[in-house]
């Protein structure tokens, strides 16, 4: 079954025809060419495909494309403003929060969701917020530090 859907992604209104059994991740990556959200486990365990869905972090591999009708979606590509990287992105660069980089878009999205409700999170809160994001390089210590520094830098 085909569905005509409309959603807002990174501030842009988009219209698509999708199949019932397509995932939101497939649409974002393959139709839109936004390859920041990564295809990882495909089972909702690794968080590499995390996006903000109406402001909340979700695994895009576990959302059906037609479910996204009317939604507002932000991917890692939507974090920067113009040419200016988001403070989280800068901090990930400065504090080595990116090792191989595969998990980084998901980590950034989870961190963004955390900072939008808790401006100065404790380490424990950061760890809790990242429970759904796996880093197979094991760079967790630097990822947590990157988020901590970025949150302190904000007013």
């Amino acid at each position: 079954m085909k569905h005509e859907i409309e959603f807002i992604i990174n501030g842009q209104n988009m219209q698509f025809t999708v199949d019932s059994n397509q995932t939101l991740l497939e649409v974002i990556r393959e139709e839109l060419g936004l390859t920041g959200a990564k295809y990882g486990c495909s089972t909702g365990e690794c968080g590499a495909c995390s996006v903000l869905f109406n402001g909340e972090v979700v695994n895009a591999c576990m959302v059906l494309a037609p479910e996204a009708a009317g939604a507002e979606i932000i991917t890692v590509e939507g974090l920067a403003e113009e040419d200016e990287l988001h403070p989280l992105q800068k901090s990930f660069i400065d504090h080595h929060g990116v090792q191989c980089g595969y998990c980084a878009p998901g980590m950034l999205i989870s961190a963004k969701a955390l900072l939008s409700r808790t401006s100065r999170p404790h380490e424990e809160e950061i760890r809790e917020a990242l429970v759904g994001n796996l880093c197979r390089c094991g760079a967790y210590a630097d990822i947590i530090k990157s988020i901590q520094v970025a949150s302190r830098a904000r007013r």
Partner: protein, 289 residues
């Protein structure tokens, strides 16, 4: 994924028509289990009915006498963050904060999660302690199913295939209620559970009443152990606590899994439960004044 038709019904009646007219219809809540099963080829529905937008299913209402009514499409994240949950059902709040990950909690619905009848279904533990009742609709009529009768074993529930959970009701509990949730899992996000237990009681004058013990990971379903709860009524002595623990051991049937042997799961459960019961006693009797 296999092909299916995604349909977003506008009313329970419309959903009911699909459930009656087609053989392989699956209800979609957060999709964390359903989509996984479709991807793995374990399920091949013709129709996936997205019922989480149905009117009224996202309502949350609390009344100090009547208790809490939670729409079946309410997200688990609401249990972890909602003020009325934190204040009046702290055991539910405490458990929900540990459930899976933010990504999963932001999508998973209460109805869909309860209907996932795995023996390690964590939401069941606090819900069993709070005497939750499922309100169910079908084209044939409405009925209620106490959660303690909802799980029938081996991943199955008491729901008929045309039935939809519309909401869950929890009675009101006095402020002198205390509960704890203890779990032992291999992973931080709760996956690969060895065992878990929720314990709850109410202090009435000098006595501790309304004991609830719900266990996970040690049988073919999430379940309460009423005989052990009975043994704890009043002001249980250490001996009575040990008797209750022994009785629980007789009522469980853990299975070997690749990460934990059945006898290990028994030992872990025993330890979690002893700790849970003692904490409830300490908290409720310690706060006596």
């Amino acid at each position: 994924m296999n092909a299916f038709d995604y349909i977003r019904p506008q009313s329970l009646e419309e959903a009911g028509r699909y459930l009656t007219s087609h053989a392989h219809v699956k209800l979609l809540g957060g999709g964390n289990t359903l989509l996984l099963n479709i991807k793995k080829g374990l399920e091949a529905p013709e129709i996936v009915l997205d019922v989480k937008h149905l009117p009224g299913l996202s309502d949350v209402r609390y009344h100090h006498n009547q208790g809490l009514k939670l729409g079946a499409a309410v997200k688990l994240q609401h249990l972890a963050a909602g003020l009325e949950i934190r204040r009046h059902y702290p055991l539910l709040h405490q458990t929900a904060q540990k459930l899976a990950s933010p990504q999963v909690r932001n999508r998973a619905t209460i109805g869909g999660t309860l209907a996932w009848a795995s023996s390690v279904s964590e939401l069941a533990a606090p819900m069993l302690c709070y005497d939750a009742v499922c309100y169910v609709w079908s084209p044939r009529g409405k009925r209620t199913i106490p959660l303690s009768e909802f799980y029938v074993g081996d991943g199955r529930t008491a729901l008929a295939r045309d039935e939809i959970i519309t909401h869950v009701h929890l009675p009101a509990f006095p402020t002198r209620t205390y509960g704890v949730y203890q779990r032992q899992t291999v992973r931080h996000d709760g996956r690969r559970m060895i065992a878990a237990v929720a314990v709850l009681a109410i202090r009435k004058q000098q006595a501790l009443t309304h004991w609830r013990i719900a266990v996970l990971g040690v049988d073919d379903r999430p379940k309460r152990i009423p005989e052990a709860e009975e043994l704890l009524q009043g002001a249980p002595s250490f001996e009575e606590v040990e008797q209750a623990l022994a009785l629980v051991q007789e009522r469980i049937h853990p299975q070997d899994v690749e990460y934990a042997r059945a006898d290990y799961r028994r030992v872990v459960l025993q330890s979690l439960l002893r700790h849970g019961i003692m904490e409830v006693i300490q908290h409720l009797q310690g706060s006596r004044s």
